[in-house]
């Protein structure tokens, strides 16, 4: 902790305003980056959550101050019964539930909203530090969250493109075609870990389909190459890579 900032750690009107404004700014910075990606949680969501978290800690500080001043009589009679971290801890539980509402199962074996939910959670933690006046922690956390959410995303896509383990969703004409597809995949020197047949019969405009979980060979691990090879089979209606 930097001693020069100690005067800002006192609990006064001016520092309360400073901390709340800091919470707005920090929430806004994280939210701005996320909004640019057209994600569910926008700019305002992050700010609101950040304000709420900072307020919860400030409220705790206020209660503690009151117990030592105006309510000191009761404390001397009943004893001090106060847990300064209680409100802050419930904030985390509350946001956990909110986050759970954002995570949706979009398709077979795929969920969406996980990064948004965890981003909100990290923002709330930063908001708690804002309210407590732990400015150094706030700045470091802000920097890290922004780096993780904005700089790491392309890296993650790049990383996933290079992975040898892939999941394919293949639609085909009839169940017997699974054999042919398996052969094509093995011809590319890939190992099949699991085949999960989803639909066995044609219904409406939906075809029989299966999920293939496989590992590409070291020499030839182009994802699009595998997709094209499978697509070239006459019995295959469509092939799609499932990305977690």
């Amino acid at each position: 902790m930097i001693p020069a900032l100690d005067f800002l750690r006192e609990f006064r009107c001016a520092t309360v305003i400073l901390r709340l404004v800091l919470a707005v700014i920090c929430g806004g910075v994280v939210g701005y980056g996320r909004s640019q990606k057209a994600r569910a949680a926008g700019f305002r969501t992050y700010i609101l959550i950040s304000i709420g978290a900072a307020m919860a800690v400030l409220l705790t500080l206020y209660e503690y101050r009151m117990l030592n001043t105006l309510w000191a009589d009761t404390v001397s009679r009943v004893g001090m019964k106060f847990d300064a971290s209680r409100l802050a801890s419930q904030v985390l539980t509350g946001i956990g539930f909110l986050g759970a509402g954002i995570i949706i199962k979009v398709a077979h074996q795929q969920v969406s909203g996980l990064t948004t939910a965890t981003g909100l959670f990290a923002t709330v933690c930063m908001g708690l530090a804002c309210g407590a006046g732990f400015y150094e922690l706030v700045l470091i956390t802000l920097l890290l969250i922004v780096v993780v959410l904005n700089v790491m995303a392309p890296l993650e896509i790049l990383f996933k493109r290079r992975l040898r383990n892939i999941t394919l969703n293949v639609e085909f004409t009839e169940l017997a075609d699974v054999q042919a597809i398996t052969e094509v995949i093995q011809a590319q020197a890939a190992r099949i870990y699991d085949i999960d047949v989803e639909r066995t019969e044609r219904s409406g405009n939906k075809w029989p389909s299966a999920i293939f979980i496989l590992q590409l060979s070291k020499e030839n691990h182009s994802h699009s190459g595998m997709l094209s090879a499978v697509a070239e089979l006459n019995c295959v209606r469509s092939v799609q890579e499932l990305i977690a």
């Binding site: 909004s35 539930f97 790049l158």
Partner: protein, 227 residues
């Protein structure tokens, strides 16, 4: 903290009445803004949340200060925060297009709850300041939020006959630092103009129109268009 307000920080009848009224007022202000946008949680919802949170926090104080029971004054308040997380999760809707709606409402409702707790504890300054910041965020920053142009993902459908053609397209995308989010290849029926259709989901610096017009010029490509 303002010492003038110290007279209203105890549990006298008038202090409690003032707290309830301030809670209703703050809830109304936040709720009216939401109602004016025709969001699911209107001003009655926000008043009830703010009032309920205030009552819970006053009760917590009463157990300790009034009845002098050995209770932690923040326990009831803490559970309000958790409970509102549940209510917030319930306001989030997943649309048919698999997008999320109601998240700002959920976040606003949750923050309103914390404001109610502050007012109930007699920390009027924090409650009023919080309300002001929420209103600024909801109204003022809404405009900024509207001007943020997300760099969207888009899907390009490419019809082609030969595998090389697709490889060429994907290489072009990579060379131009477009990240391929997903790829789906579909075999077309025999009477169709092309053998395969690939849906490429992309994100990056290049505009979809520029990319599509470049792809159309490539060898072996029957057609390309944005979906």
């Amino acid at each position: 903290m303002l010492t003038i307000l110290n007279g209203l920080r105890d549990l006298s009848f008038w202090a409690i009445l003032v707290r309830m009224l301030v809670a209703v007022l703050c809830g109304t202000l936040i709720g009216l803004e939401r109602s004016s946008k025709n969001r699911p949680a209107g001003f009655r919802t926000h008043i009830l949340v703010c009032l309920g949170a205030a009552v819970a926090s006053i009760t917590g104080l009463y157990l300790y200060l009034g009845l002098e029971l050995p209770a932690d004054i923040s326990r009831i308040s803490g559970q309000v925060v958790t409970g509102l997380g549940f209510i917030g999760a319930g306001t989030i809707i997943i649309t048919k297009k698999m997008t999320i709606k109601g998240l700002t409402t959920a976040a606003g409702l949750w923050t309103t709850g914390v404001i109610g707790l502050a007012i109930g504890s007699g920390y009027y300054e924090l409650g009023v300041l919080g309300t002001a910041l929420v209103l600024i965020t909801e109204t003022g920053l809404n405009r900024i939020s509207g001007t943020i142009q997300p760099r969207p993902e888009f899907i390009v459908e490419v019809l082609y006959d030969e595998r090389n053609a697709l490889d060429q397209v994907l290489r072009y995308c990579k060379d131009n630092r477009m990240s391929i989010v997903n790829l789906q290849i579909q075999s077309m029926p025999p009477e169709h103009e092309a053998d395969y259709a690939a849906n490429i989901k992309l994100r990056g610096k290049l505009a979809s129109q520029t990319l599509v017009s470049r792809i159309q010029l490539m060898r072996g490509i029957v057609s390309a268009m944005e979906i």
